[in-house]
Amino acid sequence: MPALRSAASGAAWRRRLAGLPILGPGVLFLFVLAVLPVALVTVYAFFERGRFGGVEYNFTLDNFVRLADPLYLGVVLKSILIAGAATGIALLIGYPAALFISRLPKRWRTLALIAVLLPFWTNFLIRTYAWILLLNNAGWINQGLQALGITTEPVAMLYTEPAVVVGLVYMYLPLMILPLYASLSSQDAQLTEAATNLGSSPFRVFRTVTLPLSAPGALTGCIFVFVPAMGNFIIPELIGGGKTVLIGNLIRDQFLKARDWPFGAALALVMTAFLVLLLVLQQRASRAVSEGKTPRKADA
């Protein structure tokens, strides 16, 4: 019996090990680059700061208590406002764009999607510097406004909060358009026809059928924009001139300037938890909307 059992479990083990060459690299990658850092951040958040960075291994909750400081709460609030504004504007620009692309003839659609993604092929920093050239007092936009006689003095645009929002919208707009496009283009065209046939004007068809059915895609797009916008620290630095401190900047500064790793870790942890919560809510909402799409009881 023991011999038999070990032979059986040996076979099971061999089967498990056979999957390793395929799964192994992915698991290793995930462990080193995702699990380990998150674990480190989690652990650091509960210890005291070391003098020159690092941590002293004395357990404390002070790092979380400090989050309630109005100074930091203000940063969090401002981050939410700015990322929220960027998300809202990206939705307002992205939705019509995605709708338009999804209604294009097939061969034009691919071309349009490539055009949407094209900026990603250029370096992130270079594109951000391009915005500085556009927005500064002697920049193209101010030159244009003055040439048209709309203003005589240059309008201060660079290093303002709206400029940060513009930069974030520009950076993350494709992440809004793509899920929206996927959602809109996979909608059954017959649904639109059915709504029309039942007497709905084109606008009512959009309001009652196209829009609600694309809500999960819109929500996904919003999360895709909101999450990285919350954490971005390069755009506030370069386009906002460092005057606008967002949570991304705050976290970076805690690690690199203030050398307060535990507080930086606490900030990062709370933000991650907040974003995970958003993702869970988004999952719930999408499922509620598309419930009709996935037959459950009847066909099971």
């Binding site: 059915a194 059928v209 609600p212 059915l213 009709g292």
Partner: protein, 372 residues
């Protein structure tokens, strides 16, 4: 009978199609269709896929704009109206139920689009759900229903506005056999009770023949024949109709006095008015043939196969000089042995002669690729 082509011809037809033509790029989908459909008629558009029947239906609904011709409803041109203003409702092949709305909201959709009051909407939706027997499922989403239930919801949604004309695109194709038979009866009952005109598109001849008062057979964008199911079967006017509807032995030859002269010199007797010498086909239904002793009858041949079907059997007979085996239906007890020699007695009175129009074939027929 309250409807049918004879009784309604006196009044104005509900729907009139006047030389309707449509093409997709270089492919012509409809060639000058002229068709009258009477009020209260159950009408079927029947044809193989790509024959243009769906294009025709979509043109009536307003989803296609025909290149030429006119569509009149009650004598008023429909072509000028956008799709959402046409007093015509449609049941889609995929049902096209709104997945984000409950059953009752789906059914209410058309009434709400009309701006009906809440109380009226609730009452009429309730009635419609009762008609289709889905009152209990009012709060469910379409995704939680079976195929047959979804089909009923689609039907309720299409009839709740009480349209004069209801278009049904392959209404039964997605259902399994048993449910399909039930729904056929239900559609007929509903059409009769509601006093609506139904226009059904289908590729299934059984469906068309069993439900419709009249059937239009379409082929490659042209109307081959518009007739009652019985007439289509007993008196096909073209070779295509004879071939498409039911089973038929098609004997190709040329028109001659008193019948069709086959290539092997035999004459199949049939009444006809075709000019002598034109390419023609004798249409003989399997049940209009009787088996006789070898050497007697119109044709003789060897039994190559028999198929027992219960009450009857189908016998395939290879006749020298004919390309395809000749099929006849006999009572099951009379089935001859395979390989035996038999004579075939053809009922001349029921044999139909049609022109063989395949040579003068339509230019569009070969390139017809539009799927319906």
């Amino acid at each position: 009978m309250t409807y049918g082509p004879d009784t309604v011809s006196a009044s104005q037809p509900l729907l009139q199609l006047r030389s309707l033509s449509h093409s997709y790029g270089s492919v012509q989908a409809l060639h000058g269709i002229d068709l009258d459909i009477a009020g209260n008629e159950f009408f079927a558009l029947l044809g193989p896929s790509g024959c243009g029947k769906s294009t025709l239906l979509r043109s009536i609904a307003g989803f296609e704009t025909p290149a030429h011709g006119e569509i009149l409803l009650d004598g008023e041109p429909l072509t000028a109206l956008p799709a959402h203003r046409r007093p015509v409702n449609m049941m889609f092949q995929s049902y096209a139920l709104f997945p984000h709305l409950s059953v009752e909201k789906n059914v209410a959709y058309g009434l709400e689009a009309e701006g009906r009051g809440k109380a009226e909407v609730r009452r009429r939706v309730g009635e419609a759900l009762e008609t289709i027997g889905l009152t209990k499922f009012a709060k469910r989403r379409p995704g939680q229903l079976s195929g047959g239930q979804r089909q009923r919801v689609a039907l309720a949604r299409a009839i709740v506005k009480r349209p004069r004309l209801l278009l049904l695109d392959e209404p039964l194709s997605a259902l399994d056999r048993k449910v399909r038979a039930e729904m056929q009866l239900e559609l007929k009952r509903l059409q009769h009770e509601a006093g609506m005109t139904f226009v059904v598109v289908t590729h299934d001849q059984e469906e068309a023949m069993s439900m419709a008062d009249r059937v239009a057979v379409l082929n490659a964008g042209r109307l081959e024949q518009v007739d009652t199911p019985v007439a289509l079967y007993a008196a096909p006017r073209t070779r295509f109709v004879a071939d498409f509807i039911g089973t038929a032995n098609l004997l190709d030859g040329t028109a001659a006095a008193g019948g069709i002269l086959l290539d092997n010199g035999l004459v199949i007797a049939a009444d006809h008015t075709l000019p002598a010498g034109t390419a023609a086909t004798a249409v003989v239904r399997p049940e209009d043939v009787a088996l006789a002793g070898a050497g007697t009858g119109t044709l003789s041949g060897t039994v190559v196969d028999t198929f027992f079907l219960g009450g009857t059997s189908t016998v395939s007979v290879q006749v020298p000089g004919l390309s395809a085996p000749f099929t006849c239906t006999v009572r099951a007890v009379q089935v001859p042995q395979r390989g035996s020699q038999v004579g075939l007695v053809i009922d001349a009175a029921r044999t139909v002669a049609v022109e063989d129009d395949r040579a003068a074939s339509r230019p569009g027929a070969a390139q017809e690729t539009v799927s319906s």
